[in-house]
């Protein structure tokens, strides 16, 4: 008797879960532009559908989420346990492919961390049972509830491997990264996905420089964005990037300001700048394009150094400002030394790419005689005023060889 009642109750629950999953599926079918999913905190069943759909936003009331997830999870695992033969039979019987998709949707929206389910989706895509565009949309929806979902980003990259680069909406991909990073600070997965876009997509450097500046003015202590900007700068230099109308002066204004700050005056033209920054360079070994890109990138770095100071004045000292300023400074000093010592051949590699290149730069920095170089000597003089912690950093990374006060002896 008691057992019967339990079976009844279980049955009732199953029917209810099935109904909710059907309702959610109906929303998916009806609304091709779903923008977000979330779980709405509501502890009791008010005898109406827990599926809420308003203006392309989908909500599920929290009281049923657990039961619905359990049900979907059980169904999917059961399906996986079946042998291939059985799967085929049931498939033929009831067109199970979209039935499966509907459980997958619900399960992954409630719990985006189950790799197995993402894997089932991949299998269905490979069998052509799920459309790539719909899948891109679904993974974006998952990112609306969990902006840090690595699975969703990885799935997107996997989906794009089936498309040609021209067919991909790269700006949209950047917006998704930006939205996810905006929702969740230090969103490693979003920023590394963005680096992937940068590597695989068309040249987005100029727009990315603008967008990241806007972003880091808003998210002042999210270092992920500053780091991405450093990657952008290195990438720009690697690709010999500069703005086509590079001869106009305003583009180098930040660099000139920086020089003025270091107490160096310079005629506002390219030639004078190169003379000042790279006096001992062997001009025949370096192409004009490399030099223009060098000036452009140094200008961006100088701009960032100024930005960090301004931000510091407005918000007070923060690690991000300090670290990013250092990174920009290191970029300028490194590239000056590289070009002058003939380290930079035409095929510039990111310093991190090869340990050997990094070692070589380090040894060149060691040997480098800053005294013979007015710009770097001025930098060396000026930076020493920023405290002994900064001096230690300079000694370590730029080989500025400031005299170090004896460290207190430890016992």
């Amino acid at each position: 008797m008691e057992e019967d009642m339990e079976v009844d109750l279980n049955n009732e629950k199953r029917v209810l879960c099935e109904k909710i999953i059907r309702d959610i599926n109906a929303v998916f079918v009806k609304d091709a532009d779903l923008a977000s999913f979330e779980i709405i905190p509501k502890e009791t069943n008010c005898n109406k559908s827990p599926v809420v759909h308003v203006e392309h936003n989908l909500g599920l009331e929290s009281w049923c989420a657990q039961h619905v997830y359990d049900h979907a999870h059980r169904t999917l695992i059961l399906h996986r346990r079946q042998t291939l033969q059985q799967q085929l039979r049931t498939l033929q019987q009831q067109q199970q492919s979209d039935a499966l998709a509907k459980y997958l949707n619900v399960a992954l929206l409630i719990n985006p961390d189950v790799t197995t389910f993402w894997h089932i989706r991949r299998q269905l895509v490979q069998k052509n049972r799920l459309s790539i565009n719909k899948e891109l949309q679904f993974s974006a929806l998952v990112l609306s509830i969990k902006p840090k979902s690595n699975e969703a980003f990885a799935y997107r990259r996997w989906l794009y491997s089936f498309q040609s680069a021209d067919a991909i909406d790269w700006p949209n991909e950047i917006s998704i990264c930006e939205r996810s990073a905006d929702r969740c600070a230090s969103n490693y997965h979003a920023w590394s996905h963005r680096q992937w876009v940068l590597r695989s997509g068309p040249c987005l450097l100029q727009s990315e420089l603008l967008r990241t500046e806007k972003f880091l003015r808003k998210h002042i202590s999210d270092y992920s964005c500053y780091h991405y900007r450093q990657v952008l700068l290195a990438r720009a230099y690697e690709l010999c990037f500069f703005m086509p109308n590079g001869e106009s002066q305003p583009q180098l204004a930040s660099l000139l300001d920086l020089l003025a700050e270091y107490g160096l005056s310079c005629e506002p033209n390219t030639e004078a700048l190169i003379q000042l920054l790279l006096p001992n360079m062997n001009r025949s070994a370096v192409s004009g394009q490399r030099l223009r890109s060098f000036l452009y990138c140094c200008n961006v770095a100088a701009y960032d150094m100024r930005l960090c100071l301004e931000q510091r004045a407005l918000y007070g000292p923060r690690d991000c400002f300090e670290l990013h300023r250092r990174a920009a400074l290191k970029f300028i000093v490194d590239q000056c030394v590289r070009l002058q010592t003939g380290l930079a051949d035409e095929h510039y590699q990111l310093p991190a790419h090869t340990a050997a290149a990094a070692n070589e730069l380090q040894s060149q920095l060691n040997k480098f005689d800053y005294g013979r170089h007015p710009f770097l000597e001025a930098v060396r003089q000026a930076e020493s005023a920023l405290g002994c912690k900064h001096q230690r950093w300079c000694n370590l990374h730029l080989q500025f060889a400031y005299p170090v006060p004896e460290a207190p002896q430890r016992n």
């Binding site: 977000s36 979330e38 905190p41 909500g59 929702r183 003015r217 808003k218 999210d222 407005l314």
Partner: protein
């Protein structure tokens, strides 16, 4: 994140604070949370105005939010809710400016009985979007150099502002301004201690 969420103007009456005008930008919250968050922001603003003495400035921290309040000696009060990275000095300068503008547009006799519908003052949304970037406020801060930062009282939670014997949970429960849905939200958020909890 440097973000302004809400601006509001209150009149602090003898028994309770009266909301005269408010504007909010809740785009960064997920869709179904927005109405709840809005209710809580109004609730928190009102509560804090009621617990602040005239001619006093306070900045109250609650979770990731900062609630800046200034009640003038004539009982007109301004509240600005921002995230904790928004510069405090700028926030208070902005409140002063809003209250000055408000006084210039709305005569004092309308304050004690005004409602959001009857008060004609439409500048809040413009302020809200313009000053999302605190750099915009630079000329303002220069103008009002007399704002002495040391006069701003810092409080670490809303609880610290409440009078003796008052409990935030009870107030949330008793409040008629909060919907059942928002109360449920408050309870769940408190239980899971999630990042979206507001008060």
């Amino acid at each position: 994140m440097v973000k302004l969420f809400a601006l509001s103007v209150f009149f602090k009456g003898a028994s309770e604070a009266r909301i005269l005008k408010t504007a909010s930008d809740l785009q960064s919250f997920s869709f179904f949370q927005r109405s709840t968050v809005n209710e809580f922001m109004t609730f928190a603003s009102k509560t804090i105005v009621e617990r602040t003495q005239p001619a006093l400035r306070q900045s109250v921290k609650q979770d990731a939010y900062m609630c800046h309040v200034y009640v003038r000696a004539d009982n007109l009060a301004g509240v600005l809710i921002a995230d904790h990275e928004y510069p405090h000095r700028v926030a208070h300068t902005l409140i002063t400016k809003i209250l000055d503008d408000f006084t210039a547009k709305v005569s004092a006799d309308q304050w004690p009985n005004g409602t959001e519908a009857t008060i004609a003052f439409d500048l809040l949304p413009a302020f809200l979007s313009k000053y999302q970037n605190p750099v915009e406020a630079d000329p303002l801060t220069k103008m009002q150099n007399d704002l002495d930062e040391t006069t701003i009282i810092l409080k670490n939670t809303i609880e610290a502002v409440l009078e003796r014997g008052e409990k935030l949970d009870d107030m949330v429960n008793k409040s008629e301004k909060l919907s059942i849905q928002s109360k449920a939200f408050y309870k769940t958020a408190k239980k899971t201690n999630s990042c979206c909890s507001f008060t």
